[in-house]
Symmetry: C2
Subunit: 337 residues, 2 copies
DNA sequence: TTTATCTACTAAACCCGTTTAGCATTGATA
DNA sequence: TATCAATGCTAAACGGGTTTAGTAGATAAA
């Protein structure tokens, strides 16, 4: 292994001080009145020998790592994978690398991950926060780290976030089902105090209330296995034969719902109409194709990075936090016609 | 922001030298004959004030970053997302963090990413290598970095890798179709010189040859869009009405194949049987459910991490590279009955 | 002629750990 | 009583950059 060159090697080879080399490489030559001739000589030599500054040493001194910590709920969920993918691309374009991890919605794990990220001196944080993490995130903010939340937010945490209009999305989807003549519309969701889930519930309830229909809400434990969710839904069908449409709180629940309707021998949409929150490749290909509330993945990623970059460049007002709410799209397919 | 404590602060508070603190915190107290009483005092104080060593400074001095660079083809592909997820978990359990990125099978991008990882001083690399990256990876190996490849390998690169038995997998799947009485079995794959794709082709050809059946192979450009692949397949159906079964080279091609059969009005499996390489949630839920060659995701991740950890701990024979080949499972579903 | 200012650089401190080399002190051995 | 080893700890160097404070020499202003 050929030994890596250091800035001292460069300085010695050119018989100048390493300070000068550092200034030149950091574009501070003019400011520091280094002659153009020397600047040229140094840059040429550096290029010739392929010298690259040690980024650890740089980080140690400057306190900046050019790394962004990304905490998503679950990288193997296609929705989060797609967003992570976009965020990654955009971050690289802005000269930042990503360290990522999945929280599993596990508060303790998330606490440890945040501690690990701090330890690694990441410059900024992008997080889909689980419950109970308010304090840790407030600590980050208090200590001056840029934090952008997405998918959901924390009411008591003053920071930037990017979410979608969950309330209107489910309101609109429910209203669509009502307009189609459905009367017994159920909402199956996770039992969760996270903002996005609460708003989805509220949107559904609002539409039902406005049409004087009786709401029918089932809340499922977040940590329930897919199999047990299917069982639960089969029981639901038995108990509620009158239900003629279901709105699901997220894509995973809808997937379980598809298995359950199939097992129960229910015809979709003749016996029961279905709508999912979050679109998914599966929903497009499934027979019948499943109507879904589609979130604008690219826009979410764009806005997350934009907000974070503004903070990192200090171009955003320190006090004023930005809250971006994006629209979703109801993609109507066969499961609700 | 409360100032972060440094090792000097700890040493001063306890009126001892920072060397002693360092030895104690790194578990070298016995070796360095630090008295048990002092060890206890230091550990208690450190815990009390919550001191955490600056990992950058540590990395700078020791040359170890405790970061693993993970390069997958595409993190938004469920197969890679699932493996990345497992690798991440296992890496954390071993005290390592992951920096990841998607290569898009793009050689230039991958070169840049490897350079970036080197710059970040990652301790080891896990890579699904694209074509043309042999030299860069050989450089890594020459310079002493542990590198583990997976999903495919590079014949001219002497390093550890974890793959599945691609040849047997497609041989077996093809044989299964032959046993079912199919005579005109097509193989639709990507045009690729990557080992996994070549072996999948060979397995198919071997089975066809053994049964004296005529092979029918279509190679599709890797960068073709989903829509154009569907178009291409529709053309294929027109040109080859005799084909009564298709084996797909990967999950994405099969997804396109499902769209195409549907558009062409072909009944599955009556008109045409289908088998995918890589299982996928969709294949289980699709009507009819799709037969798939399932890769052992957990085992792949386990083995990748195991090999890498052996290298990182120097417990592996420097010269002898390990090649792990895992079995797949043919999950028979309705699409091929 | 003296003082001030500018130009073109540089020495040394600093970031925060780890590691090397070594120094008192005590007890044991010759 | 001199020599040696073990004990318990530490000063200083090091890793590789950035930043602060400053210097020597040339020119301009008073």
């Amino acid at each position: 292994m050929k030994k890596k060159l250091s800035i001292v090697d460069i300085a010695n080879s050119l018989n100048i001080s390493k300070t000068t080399v550092s200034f030149i490489l950091n574009g501070r030559a003019q400011e520091k009145r280094i002659s153009e001739e020397l600047v040229k000589r140094v840059l040429e030599y550096v290029k010739e020998v392929g010298y690259k500054p040690n980024s650890l040493a740089k980080s140690l001194r400057t306190g900046k790592s050019n790394i962004i910590g990304l905490l998503v709920q679950d990288i193997s969920n296609p929705f989060f994978a797609a967003i992570a993918r976009q965020i990654e691309d955009l971050a690289y374009k802005n000269g930042y690398k990503i360290i990522y991890s999945s929280t599993d919605n596990d508060t303790q794990k998330t606490k440890e991950l945040i501690a690990m990220f701090r330890d690694r001196h990441v410059d900024g944080y992008i997080i889909t926060p689980p419950d109970g993490i308010e304090e840790d995130i407030n600590d980050l903010i208090r200590d001056g780290f840029p934090v952008v939340l997405f998918d959901r937010y924390l009411p008591n945490v003053p920071t930037d976030y990017v979410v979608v209009d969950n309330l209107f999305s489910t309101y609109n989807a429910t209203q669509y089902l009502i307009d189609k003549g459905h009367k017994n519309i159920a909402f199956i969701t996770y039992s969760s105090i996270q903002t996005q889930m609460i708003e989805r519930l509220e949107g559904y309830e609002k539409a039902m209330r406005q049409s004087k229909l009786k709401a029918n809400v089932t809340e499922i434990d977040f940590y329930a296995s897919a199999d047990s969710i299917v069982e639960l839904m089969l029981g639901f069908f038995q108990k509620h034969p009158e239900v003629d449409a279901i709105l699901f709180g997220n894509n995973h629940l809808c997937k379980c719902g598809l298995k359950a309707t199939r097992k129960a021998g229910k015809r979709v949409p003749e016996d029961i109409a279905l709508i999912a929150f979050d679109d998914h490749e599966l929903f497009e290909l499934y027979t019948p194709a499943v109507t879904a509330i589609s979130q604008p993945i690219s826009e979410i990623a764009d806005n997350v990075i934009k907000l974070l970059m503004e903070r990192l460049n200090n171009s955003a007002d320190e006090q004023k936090k930005q809250h971006v709410t994006l629209a979703t799209e109801l993609i109507v397919r066969d499961s609700s016609r």
